[in-house]
Symmetry: C3
Amino acid sequence: MVGKIVALITDFGYKSPFVGIMKGVIKTTAPESEIIDITHNISEYSIQEAAFVLAHSYSYFPKNTVFVTVVDPGVGSNRKIVLLKTEKYYFIAPDNGILSWTIKKEKVKKIISVTNNKYFFQPVSNTFHGRDIFAPIAGHIINGIDINNFGPEISKIYKISFPEIIKINNVFQGQVLYIDKFGNVITNFTEDKFRQVLKNGLFELRIKNKKLDRIQTSYSGIEPSKPCLIWGSFGYLEIALREDSIARLYRINVEDKIIIRMK
Amino acid sequence: MVGKIVALITDFGYKSPFVGIMKGVIKTTAPESEIIDITHNISEYSIQEAAFVLAHSYSYFPKNTVFVTVVDPGVGSNRKIVLLKTEKYYFIAPDNGILSWTIKKEKVKKIISVTNNKYFFQPVSNTFHGRDIFAPIAGHIINGIDINNFGPEISKIYKISFPEIIKINNVFQGQVLYIDKFGNVITNFTEDKFRQVLKNGLFELRIKNKKLDRIQTSYSGIEPSKPCLIWGSFGYLEIALREDSIARLYRINVEDKIIIRMK
Amino acid sequence: MVGKIVALITDFGYKSPFVGIMKGVIKTTAPESEIIDITHNISEYSIQEAAFVLAHSYSYFPKNTVFVTVVDPGVGSNRKIVLLKTEKYYFIAPDNGILSWTIKKEKVKKIISVTNNKYFFQPVSNTFHGRDIFAPIAGHIINGIDINNFGPEISKIYKISFPEIIKINNVFQGQVLYIDKFGNVITNFTEDKFRQVLKNGLFELRIKNKKLDRIQTSYSGIEPSKPCLIWGSFGYLEIALREDSIARLYRINVEDKIIIRMK
């Protein structure tokens, strides 16, 4: 049983026709498919950002959605292309770590190394596998082709590590995971682990010489131009300004260090 | 009788996966829905711009389209969420004024305050009602759920005023309503009220110390690098340059004052 | 026999609601249509760029796709609107040269000058034919209306010339055709004509005082921060940097001169 939806994440942007071409190939292969853009503005070549965006988007989609994530600095090299079949979904990506944080949350049924060029768009280029491999494979999945046809089963994918919190005595060291469109800073302090910790004790969070010690419940409750903390919609502690970009104001970047000291 | 189209307007941009996540929720709720983006680049937090864009886009869509407009600085506060049912359409939005200029043009059938969390995506966050409330409600409307289920009927929505023209003797004072993608400046002088006025008399329009006195019939008829006036496609007097951005060149912003003096 | 897909190329961007409005009109006219964005970020008023993007995208789409390309500085003037029917596709565009490079590759069946305002959205503006003419005509084609209804057959379209390579003795002079989203520089040296030439001989390519003499097979094989050549996915010789924008670094623009000297 397959679905109809192909969901796309790339760093191809909205200027060049790369995404449009992929959609043409998907619709040519699978006329019944429906294509949904998650984003095409992943920071160029950023595997971490693509991994974050995929891991925090996919679960909102219908069963059997085929996710195609193409951030692929290794295109044309000998990096593999993998198809991950989980209980609910299909994920196709270059085997460069993009699936690392998704695979941890999913019940894996099978991993295929996609190698069978019978299912590729011919001739296969060395620079645009989105068009020549990812798009037609997504279409063939929608068409119900048995995924075992695409290549041999393999037992693991290439993984990048998730930046974990380090605890030393009463100090937690974390970092910036992602900066969203509004300039909100998403940290790697997860709500499920840290909500209780930060609720029960006094604490001080430091980032870039700024100190924060209070968690708000909504953006609109924040005092104007005062940085504050909030449990965000991705499930992490966020640093935010009311109607402004804290990332721009304090020049905060992904991987910047965050310290929480319990008092 | 319902339609299949959900049309989206947000300030969520094209970088973060917020819009993609909303689409996932809509398609999960209503597999038959078709989603169309109007724009996701509303200037951040600009209720006026969202109100303008919605009011000048919706009428081109098929009957029963469900419009979801999310520019929502008050998310998580006690601002209401409203569902406006008119003779032809459904409009869902935070009750912050976004619907003000649309409701004036539409025949209102019913207004619902959306409160019934049975129809929301659980758990409801305080920061992303686009995902947790707006998207699933849109899906349920497409599915044909009776809108009376979503909450109590109310009699009015929160409104922001449309900037009207002030007339003092032979002088009209207006302002900039919107600046489009090409840098054309849309004023609040409407074609239906002012076409005759400006056709019959000599006049001089002033904006930022520039004077204009002639209305052209097409961009291509404009002399290169000479600012000019034109009746634009939104139904207002526009100030334009041929193949260039007059807004950038003269640093014109929304709400800048415009004076027309009849001679 | 018609298809369901309408594919769009414009310079309307993603901020103003122009594209959304066109989609509303297309769906109102043809409820069964499916709309795919190729890009809306063509550089403003650039007919050349639109011609390039269309010519290198269309062939990946299903048979009977209707391509609507609107980059239209002459809107409201007496420039024609043309509908090109080829063996596989329909192309609608202002008659300003946009179709020049596509028509060379296609088997033309018929060209119609679109004039019959019975099929237009009324009243027709002088500034937004995307909404008033292009969108409804696309919808009517999807609906199976005989294209002879739209206006008289004509025998030719307006053409802009493709920048050809000039050869003087052992020197080829070309130019930059297009710069893609990643800053890769697409030249007008085509793979089918020049692959053999450059494979068999030693050569030196010059652009902006930079010299290059080696063609790589993939981006990932390129030495970091060293400019190099590659046969790109559009079928042309490209100048690229590994994970960086060579166009930005060396300030390369479309139409910049490129010299290849055979040794």
